[in-house]
């Protein structure tokens, strides 16, 4: 199911704003559950410029148990 977050959607704004919004939502929601991310993870989130990828991460964030689970080692 697609998550209707503001970043994904209906509130308008250009692509850069939506990317920024999705990054902020990821960090905010993650902090609520797991505390502040380590700087590497925060940097990684802030460096993602692909909205689709950010939306996938937001979907995954609903089910993972830690920041590390969000980015399993590749």
């Amino acid at each position: 199911m697609a998550i209707p977050i503001a970043a994904a959607g209906s509130t308008g704004g250009d692509s850069g704003d939506r990317i920024h919004e999705a990054q902020a939502a990821l960090l905010r929601i993650g902090r609520m559950r797991f505390g502040s991310p380590i700087p590497e993870i925060e940097y990684r989130i802030r460096s993602i410029q692909d909205l689709k990828q950010l939306e996938k991460l937001l979907d995954r964030l609903l089910e993972v148990a830690s920041w590390q689970d969000l980015f399993p080692s590749e």
Partner: protein, 131 residues
């Protein structure tokens, strides 16, 4: 006695006034570091509480924050730990487009579907933009 005290105060003030330009500049440069140290010392630690929501075994439970952003999803039982604050619980397979049950999480909390459905409810709002 009082005279001695006033002498001390006067002496301190004089010493402070005698700071050289270099010393003043150095102190000004150090100010952001000292401010950061002070702010981090008074910043409260985030407080997390356990939240358990038990619903029908196949029910999809959505935990939604006060900006109407989904935070966590579970089936049957949601057992999590989140920052204290205001949240909404939504139930059902369609999820996220129906009735929401507001909760205030200021301590560990255990809720059942019956308890939620007997309590206050509201209609889901569109997600708010973050600042």
């Amino acid at each position: 006695m009082d005279k001695d005290k006033s002498k001390t105060v006067r002496a301190e003030r004089t010493a402070r006034m005698k700071l050289s330009a270099e010393e003043s500049l150095k102190r000004m440069e150090e100010f952001p570091k000292r401010k950061e140290k002070f702010v981090s010392a008074i910043k409260p630690e985030p407080v997390y509480h356990r939240l358990v929501v038990v619903a029908e075994p196949k029910a999809i439970i959505w935990l939604v924050d006060d900006y109407w952003h989904p935070v966590q999803k579970a089936i049957g039982t949601l057992d999590t730990s989140v920052l204290r604050g205001r949240y909404f619980i939504e139930l059902g397979e369609s999820g996220l487009n129906g009735v929401a049950y507001p909760i205030e999480l200021f301590d560990d909390l255990r809720l059942t579907q019956d308890l939620l459905e007997a309590g206050p409810e509201c209609l889901r709002q569109p997600p708010k933009l973050l600042d």
